[in-house]
């Protein structure tokens, strides 16, 4: 599927996928690292704030503690009367702004003394005797230090009798007895917690974040939601939410541990973290809640910029990659178009020129070279085809001239009983200029002329020379009935102005049919063979003469032979003896003689067909390089005794005129 897409698409998608992955990884990494940094930052900030808050609370608490301790020392040393006690308390409160109120509460059984208490109101300081309608001896702030024999910060409480504000009381046991051991009363200092809420809300914690303080028993004493203050504790919230983790966290906080933990806001129910820290002497614990939402909002805020930058970069990259990919593949597409046109046969289709030396430019260059070479090649092919066609047509012309001139009707003289005659001409691919001919030399049709020839050339030239030779021969034969004279005349005619030195080898025989007397001459032609009825072969070598058309003024000697009925003369051209087999061996005269004898027939046509078969057998598949021409003439005797078809079995006749005849 993917490999079917265009290169531009693939390139674009691959680059974009790669870059997109890197961008996504970078964005992801930065998201998590920013988140981690912000988390750490948040925790640091939380710890700083918590420290600041605890220091603040402690600095508010210490003057109260100091005042109470100093007052205790004073009372233990010097007994004071009621009025003195009130004045003392008033002076102390005025000089300690952090002190909301202070009391000296001696044990009730310790005489009917009052328990003076002075506290701040909007109208100034106010005196109260705690013994009036207030059983302080059952209050925690009285019992705990008395029993524990050490100063104790009370649980915060609403002082409904006194200032009606949320406060906490520091109570110090007083030992006025002689033993200095028995606790005889309690001195207290009150601290208003009303300012705590203001302190916590003044902290710049960010949206959805808040701080709270729980007391030593887990009760909320400072909380953004007033409904929680003194009404709920961290344990009651954990109970309501059935939250074990919160309960565990509460225990850690009231044990005075510090740390941080995952936390779900008891106000909004949103997830986040809490950082907690003890407020030393008071036994309280500060909690700072940071919501995840607020943190993530910041993370996203920071990451948004990256997202926008990344997306913009990606889109820009898309455009650039698409542009590059298209610019790379444009020339390839153009080449493709040109190649298609070329494939359709349009060699003149313009090949786009491509600038530069890159691979595509080189491809285009090769393409141009290929087309020009293709053109040259095609031109050459066309030229070769034309030349070949011309050659073929010349071959056809030569062959048609040659084949058009030789007689092809057999038997040629069906009404003549004195002889039988058959001839064959198998032209080579490039015709060799062979020919044969036969005609009567006289009006009485007693003298039959047999001719076989071979022009020493090939092709049209040979065919034309052969045509001239044959025509001249026929016309000259009217005046020269003797072969030797005829060849001499023919030679003179052909030699004249024969610049090309073309010549023809010729064998010419004139047979006087009534007597069987034969006169013959050879112009450089291979000697014919006479096959006598008994199978003996005679080669007519005696009539020797030069090739016809070579030199002017040549004389030819005549040979004589007397045919007896049954004699067969076999005329041939060197195409027979020089027929070659694939090993380039020649057929030769010996094989020819053997083939003639093996034919066992006087039937001229059968004999020649037999010879042709032998030649084909010998040559196998070798190409025929020269024309193969054969002519067989069988003499049956004079017309009166002509009906002698059984020549094969004829007894050996006496022969006349054997001079000059080679016996084989």
């Amino acid at each position: 599927m993917f490999h079917k897409w265009s290169i531009a698409w693939r390139l674009g998608i691959l680059v974009l996928v790669g870059v997109g992955t890197v961008l996504a990884a970078m964005t992801g990494y930065s998201y998590f690292s920013v988140k981690r940094i912000l988390e750490e930052e948040m925790m640091d900030k939380a710890r700083q704030i918590a420290t600041a808050v605890t220091v603040h609370v402690e600095t508010s608490a210490r003057p109260v503690e100091d005042m109470a301790k100093d007052l205790t020392v004073f009372i233990e040393t010097v007994p004071v009367a009621e009025e003195q006690a009130y004045q003392l308390l008033e002076r102390l409160i005025n000089s300690h702004s952090a002190v909301f109120g202070a009391a000296i509460a001696m044990a009730p059984q310790d005489g009917g003394r009052a328990a003076p208490y002075v506290y701040r109101t909007e109208q100034g300081l106010r005196r109260t005797d705690l013994r009036q309608g207030y059983h302080y001896e059952t209050s925690d702030w009285y019992i705990l230090p008395k029993e524990l024999k050490r100063p104790v910060w009370s649980e915060p409480y609403f002082d409904e009798g006194g200032g009606n504000v949320l406060m906490a009381t520091y109570a110090v046991p007083v030992r006025t007895g002689t033993d200095k051991e028995t606790v005889t009363g309690v001195v207290t200092g009150d601290m208003s917690l009303a300012s705590l809420a203001g302190l916590l809300t003044s902290l710049e914690l960010g949206r959805s974040n808040y701080a709270f303080i729980i007391s030593g028993q887990g009760r909320f004493i400072a909380h953004p939601d007033d409904n929680f203050i003194m009404r709920e504790s961290i344990f009651s919230v954990a109970e309501a939410a059935r939250n074990q983790h919160l309960r565990a966290l509460g225990r850690k906080m009231i044990r005075g541990e510090s740390g941080q933990a995952a936390y779900t806001s008891e106000v909004s129910g949103k997830p986040g973290w809490v950082v907690y820290m003890p407020i030393a002497s008071t036994g309280w614990s500060l909690g700072l809640f940071f919501s995840r939402e607020a943190l993530m909002a910041r993370v996203f805020e920071l990451n948004h910029i990256q997202w926008y930058l990344g997306s913009a970069g990606f889109i820009l990259l898309c455009l650039v990659v698409t542009g590059i990919a298209r610019s790379i593949t444009r020339p390839i597409r153009q080449l493709d178009k040109a190649a298609r046109k070329l494939a359709a046969g349009d060699l003149d289709a313009p090949v786009p020129y491509i600038n530069g030396g890159d691979e595509v430019a080189r491809l285009a260059e090769s393409f141009t070279i290929m087309i020009s070479e293709l053109k040259v090649h095609m031109d050459m092919l066309q030229e070769t085809a034309t030349v070949k066609e011309r050659m073929e047509s010349e071959l056809r012309i030569a062959r048609s001239i040659q084949m058009g001139l030789i007689p092809k009707t057999f038997p040629p003289f069906p009404d003549r009983s004195e002889f039988r005659l058959f001839a064959l001409l198998d032209p080579a691919r490039e015709t060799g200029g062979d020919f044969y001919d036969f005609f009567f030399l006289d009006e009485e049709q007693e003298q039959l002329c047999l001719v076989i020839g071979d022009v020493a050339d090939k092709g049209v030239g040979a065919a034309l020379f052969m045509a001239v030779t044959r025509t001249l021969l026929r016309s000259l034969a009217r005046e020269n009935q003797e072969p030797a004279g005829l060849l001499s005349r023919l030679n003179d005619e052909l030699s004249r102005n024969n610049e090309s030195c073309m010549f023809v080898t010729l064998f010419c025989a004139a047979v006087h049919l009534p007597t069987g007397r034969c006169s013959y001459a050879s112009g450089g032609h291979c000697p014919p063979v006479v096959m006598q009825p008994d199978g003996r072969l005679i080669s007519l070598k005696d009539a020797k003469g030069p090739v016809v058309g070579g030199m002017e003024g040549m004389l030819y000697t005549a040979g004589q032979y007397l045919f007896t009925p049954g004699d067969l003369i076999f005329l041939y051209t060197d195409g027979v003896t020089e027929a070659a087999n694939p090993e380039r061996a020649l057929f030769g005269e010996e094989r020819m003689h053997r083939a003639l004898q093996q034919a066992q027939t006087r039937n001229t046509e059968k004999l020649l067909r037999h010879m042709r078969e032998r030649l084909q057998e010998f040559a196998e598949h070798a190409e025929q390089s020269d024309d193969i021409t054969m002519l067989a003439f069988c003499y049956h005797g004079p017309a009166s005794s002509a009906v002698n078809e059984a020549v094969d079995n004829a007894p050996e006749n006496s022969r006349v005129n054997r001079e000059g005849v080679d016996r084989l």
Binding site: A456, C501, S522, P527, P546, V547
Partner: protein
């Protein structure tokens, strides 16, 4: 086919070896024409190393003979043996070209 030429007392001897056929005949004709143009009008074709001669080969010999005749010179053949001798004999070249056994005999005769 290979052609070697040498001078021998006023005669130019051209030794031809190998096959003289349609493919090589024109080479012989060309070489001889060059020799004739240079003035070598008394030419001897020494053919003892010739293996085969075709009708095209005969034609080139004839052409050389004619050219020499026109130039007032002459061509002699020598060293004819076997098949080559037979071909030259059948073609009747011996009837219009002098044939000798060896080059020496041509030279002796002048």
């Amino acid at each position: 086919m290979e052609i070697l030429t040498r001078e021998e007392r006023g005669f130019t001897v051209v030794s031809v070896s190998g096959r003289l056929d349609a493919g090589t005949a024109s080479d012989l004709e060309k070489d001889c024409a060059n020799l004739i143009n240079k003035g070598g009008t008394k030419l001897i074709l020494e053919l003892s190393a010739l293996e085969y001669v075709s009708s095209a080969g005969l034609r080139s010999v004839l052409a050389v003979a004619k050219k020499l005749k026109a130039a007032g010179g002459g061509l002699s053949l020598c060293g004819l043996t076997g098949l080559v001798q037979e071909v030259f004999s059948i073609a009747g070249f011996d009837s219009f070209l002098p044939v000798y056994e060896t080059v020496e005999k041509v030279v002796e005769k002048g």
